[in-house]
């Protein structure tokens, strides 16, 4: 038996879902969601749990992470309570709760804090960059104010903190999600199958395709390459491809190399994919084409714009290297590219980016529980 705690609803509203208390439990959202089956009852049940303050039930749930934010539920809600936005807010809340530092909480709840933290990290990264190019004049000037070692070590510390945070967060999530799992003992061997199912989902986005599939849905008549599932696929695989290409370059070759090198080709194709996806996503959010894109918070804008800028500056650099121009502007672009890319990596644990770690874990556990 749980005591009702109405303060939880106030807390959640700070993460973005301001209207959800008008929900009167009709269940339309659950009925219309293509991802619910007889065992899952979202989003209605989540709204109920939120209203009654059942924090632990929410943090222990895997179903929260099945949602792809298509917005169909918000479209159907007769009270305009925004269940889709509420689910997104819950995910922000979960990310903020799993990691131990409290930075995420701060950044999600307060826009000024978000800006300050981002700029702070940018500054630290910028300084760290200069330690990698110690012969620059600016670097030498910097080292007179802050010792090289301090900057270098601080950078390393920050990187470790972010790594540890995400690791801690994943472990916390695993421990919590396990509590809500199948009470029947897990048999050995239920690892490969769910893992394969997870890889399949990441590769094909099949579940995402089932979202928003009504006859009269906005996307039904649009070409597949403009549909949200593909936009996400291209951003995700674009980023993964770019990450891989950059790491390979870093390990085997000097970055300034021929454009026809295999890792360069991978980088180019991945880059095109990511910029394509990010451009369309930004466009959808600006135009609010469907209910899914009606609420874009600062964290959402930052994430997508950073990806886009990193992609564009990356291409700029590739072109400047190919045509061999050694202009000042190219150096600036390089700095911007590096800072933004590093910022993304740094903020991995503390921002929307973290879903890339939490969602697969939740999906994996969900598939395992449901015998896939």
């Amino acid at each position: 038996m749980s005591r009702i705690d109405q303060t939880f609803a106030f807390e959640i509203k700070k993460y973005g879902a301001k209207d959800f208390s008008t929900c009167f439990n009709c269940g339309n959202c659950t009925a219309v969601c293509g991802l619910t089956d007889k065992n899952t009852s979202f989003p209605r049940l989540f709204i109920r749990q939120g209203m009654l303050g059942q924090k632990e039930e929410i943090l222990q749930s895997k179903e929260l992470w099945l949602c792809y934010a298509c917005g169909e539920c918000s479209e159907t809600c007769p009270r305009q309570a925004g269940p889709g936005d509420y689910m997104a807010a819950l995910r922000r809340y979960a990310i903020a709760s799993y990691e131990p530092t409290g930075i995420t909480k701060l950044m999600f709840k307060s826009n000024p804090a978000f800006i300050v933290m981002t700029l702070l990290f940018a500054m630290i990264l910028g300084f760290f960059l200069f330690t990698l190019k110690p012969h620059y004049e600016v670097s030498r000037w910097l080292f007179t104010i802050l010792p090289f070692a301090v900057i270098h070590n601080m950078g390393l510390v920050i990187f470790s903190i972010t790594g540890l945070s995400i690791a801690w967060g994943l472990v916390t999530m695993y421990l919590k999600l396990r509590k809500n799992g199948n009470k029947e003992g897990k048999t050995a061997g239920t690892f490969i199958k769910p893992l394969l199912a997870l890889v399949n989902e990441i590769a094909t986005m099949n579940r995402y395709k089932t979202c928003d599939e009504e006859e009269d849905s906005f996307w039904k008549t649009k070409p597949w390459y403009t549909q949200p599932w593909f936009i996400h696929w291209s951003i995700m695989w674009g980023f993964i491809g770019l990450l891989l290409a950059t790491v390979l370059d870093f390990m085997f070759k000097d970055p300034a190399t021929s454009i026809w090198w295999p890792s360069r080709i991978l980088g180019t194709i991945a880059g095109i994919l990511m910029i394509y996806g990010a451009t369309l996503a930004i466009n959808y959010r600006l135009k609010k084409v469907t209910n899914a894109y009606s609420e874009t918070r600062l964290a959402d804008w930052t994430f997508i714009w950073f990806l886009w800028i990193a992609g564009i500056t990356g291409f700029w650099m590739e072109l400047s290297v190919t045509f061999g121009a050694d202009l000042l502007i190219n150096h600036l672009v390089f700095i911007i590219h590096t800072i933004i890319s590093m910022e993304l990596v740094l903020l991995f644990a503390f921002s929307k980016f973290a879903h890339a770690a939490y969602r697969p874990l939740a999906l994996f556990l969900f598939f395992r529980e449901n015998g896939k």
Partner: protein, 667 residues
């Protein structure tokens, strides 16, 4: 028994009703058999007796044949009794010398699988009708004088509002109120929902208007002592303090209102703690508090409303829903949200019924952050008042029946409406019925919602059933208008189907007066002896006095001994019917045409109309079929938009018809 005059020129019309009757009952044979009955001079089959053309024909028959009575064997009198009474009237026959025999609902439709037996039954019924009308008497409607005054019982919002309109329409109104002051339940409330007006303000405004109108006399501290008389002339005795006033009125309006349910001791913690109160009590707390609410010096920062208390009890007395409480409770929570800060509200409900325009309140309340929890009647919330705060355990249907615990400073029981305890007493005084739910009963909830079975006694407001203020006023105003329609005429017409006393035979034993439920029979002196006399206005013609009279001195008009005995004899006479094929047509060829033959005849008609538009007689002549048959088919085709009228013919007698939808012509 003296010889009663018999009719000698009776007209009998047996209807086909399209094929509804004639497809099962052998109307042609019966027509021929009936022709030889005593007193019958006209016996006909008609396609549709109610049709205008047939009505005209009947009137022609009455005038030319000098008929003294008519019988129509057709559908139920509920449909066309008045139609044919009117025909009789227009033809010059007293409308009560007409009788309708139901050979459709009670014969052809009921026995469609045994047509021979149906025909025998129909023949019997028609014979009975003929015998009845043989002995029926000419009757005139009863006129009673009317008093242009109305007694309104109950000066709540319903009663006062109706009184005002009645007075404005020209009636003298006696407004009787049991309590010391007017306004009833509404006077106890301040902010009302939707408009935000104060209940006390509404009552004051009405009260002022009543004082202005000189033809309203208001009596407070007054109760009804005795009621007698009938529509147009009620004698109402009212006791005011110790005096008795004798009032005379043409009609009475009952608007006594309702009571709030009083929870039993221990029900949801009621009576066990000052922190548990009913909604009316809670409203008083809200009205008199400023800034914050306190109970027992404790500041109220959380309230739990428990809905459906004392109402919607499937196993209890009050099975109905009280309609207004959901709205009242949610409205109260909105008021609290406005007036006081930081009060967390919980609604423990079964269903939310903020119907109509009140739905807006529900959405507002959700938006304010109120938490709604739903319980099932079988597992009601358990209230524990032993601690500092009240703890309520509820199995929440919306969270998969998990047991949740609610902590609250105050519990408000949202109680329903119950009928007043003095309803039974008033019902006895006025002889109006109460329902199973102990509210006053209307005649028909949809078609006659403000009238009672007692002529002249009307209902208005929540004494008839749970209503909000708007609905109560609507109902009492409706009653006021109906009352005025009666009282504005100096006389009132009543149906003459009532009891009559044969003064010669009556020896006044008093038995009839004893059994009369309506107190309509009283002894009078006549011809030097005491005899029974029937009050024409009060008698309802129920007939209970007739069989009890040992001297056979009382009977009911239209149901006299001759008529009833004649009907029984007529029905039981044996009849020999030849088992003929089902027939539905007349005409020299004796064409047997059934409904399934429609297509053939339709094709013939269509072919003919393709050439040019024709009238019914013209079609009948051309196709060699009876005009009734053509009428029936053509009217059906008209209904299905295959033909349409094309204007009157030259002699302005018949419409000609043309084809409308040519698609039908297929083979």
């Amino acid at each position: 028994m003296e010889e009663k005059p018999k009719k000698e020129r009776i007209g009998v019309y047996i209807c086909h009703c399209g094929g509804n009757i004639s497809d099962y009952v052998d109307v042609a044979q019966i027509r021929d058999i009936v022709r030889s009955e005593d007193g019958v001079v006209v016996s006909k089959n008609v396609m549709f007796a109610c049709a205008d053309s047939n009505q005209k024909e009947m009137i022609k028959d009455i005038e030319e044949g000098k008929l003294d009575a008519i019988v129509v064997a057709s559908c139920s009198p509920k449909l066309h009794l008045h139609t044919f009474r009117n025909v009789a009237l227009r033809g010059g026959i007293n409308p009560y010398n007409y009788t309708q025999v139901n050979i459709r609902e009670q014969c052809s439709w009921a026995h469609s699988d045994t047509p021979l037996e149906a025909s025998e039954k129909a023949a019997g019924l028609i014979r009975a009708g003929i015998r009845k009308v043989t002995f029926s008497e000419a009757l005139d409607n009863i006129e009673v004088s009317s008093t242009r005054a109305v007694v309104v019982i109950g000066a709540g919002v319903s009663g006062m509002r109706a009184a005002i309109d009645l007075a404005k329409m020209g009636n003298q109104v006696y407004l009787i109120e049991k309590e010391n002051s007017v306004g009833g339940n509404v006077a106890k409330w301040k902010d009302l929902f939707i408009t935000g007006q104060q209940g006390t303000a509404i009552v004051d405004a009405l009260s002022m208007k009543i004082r202005e109108l000189t033809n309203i006399k208001l009596f407070t501290n007054a109760v009804i002592d005795k009621v007698s008389g009938s529509l147009g002339n009620f004698f109402v005795n009212v006791r005011v303090n110790d005096e008795i006033l004798n009032l005379k009125a043409g009609a009475i309006l009952v608007s006594t209102g309702f009571d709030s349910y009083q929870p039993v001791d221990g029900e949801f913690g009621y009576g066990k703690s000052p922190a548990v109160m009913t909604l009316p009590g809670f409203r008083q707390l809200v009205d008199k508090s400023k800034g914050a609410m306190f109970v027992d010096n404790r500041r109220i920062s959380s309230i739990a409303y428990i809905y459906c208390v004392g109402t919607r009890q499937t196993k209890g007395e009050n099975k109905y829903c009280s309609r207004v409480c959901c709205t009242a409770a949610i409205h109260s929570s909105l008021l609290v949200h406005e007036k006081f800060r930081d009060v967390q509200t919980y609604h423990l409900y079964r269903d939310i019924r903020t119907y109509g325009k009140q739905e807006i309140l529900y959405e507002q309340s959700s938006g304010n952050g109120d938490i709604y929890l739903k319980y099932d009647e079988k597992t009601p919330p358990i209230v524990d008042t032993t601690g500092n705060k009240v703890l309520i355990k509820i199995k929440d249907e919306l969270t998969r029946r998990q047991e949740m615990e609610v902590e609250a400073d105050l519990v408000v029981l949202v109680t329903g409406m119950v009928p007043r305890s003095d309803n039974k007493a008033i019902a006895e005084l006025l002889k109006i019925p109460v329902g199973n739910d102990k509210f006053f009963n209307e005649i028909h909830p949809k078609l006659r919602p403000v009238e009672t079975v007692i002529n002249g006694v009307f209902l208005g407001g929540s004494c008839q059933g749970p209503k909000n203020i708007s609905e109560s006023v609507q109902s009492s105003l409706s009653a006021a208008v109906k009352i005025n329609a009666l009282t504005k005429n100096p006389t009132i017409m009543l149906e003459p189907i009532i009891a009559r006393v044969n003064f010669n035979a009556c020896t006044w034993c008093g038995k009839c007066a004893e059994v009369c439920e309506y107190d309509a029979i009283h002894p009078i002196g006549m011809f030097g002896k005491t005899v029974a006399s029937v009050n024409e206005a009060t008698c309802k013609g129920c007939g209970i006095c007739a069989p009890i009279c040992p001297d056979d001195a009382i009977d009911i008009a239209q149901y006299s001994n001759n008529e009833i005995e004649g009907m029984i004899d007529g029905f039981l006479e044996s009849i020999e019917l030849k088992e003929a094929g089902k027939t539905g047509s007349e005409g020299p060829e004796e064409e047997i045409v059934l409904m399934k033959d429609m297509p053939r005849i339709w094709r013939q008609i269509t072919a003919s109309l393709e050439v040019n538009s024709k009238t019914i007689p013209a079609l009948a002549k051309e196709l060699g079929l009876g005009p009734e048959l053509i009428t029936w088919h053509l009217m059906t085709m008209n209904k299905y938009s295959l033909v349409e009228a094309d204007g009157l013919d030259d002699s302005d007698e018949y419409y000609s018809y043309k084809l409308k939808n040519h698609q039908y012509v297929q083979d």
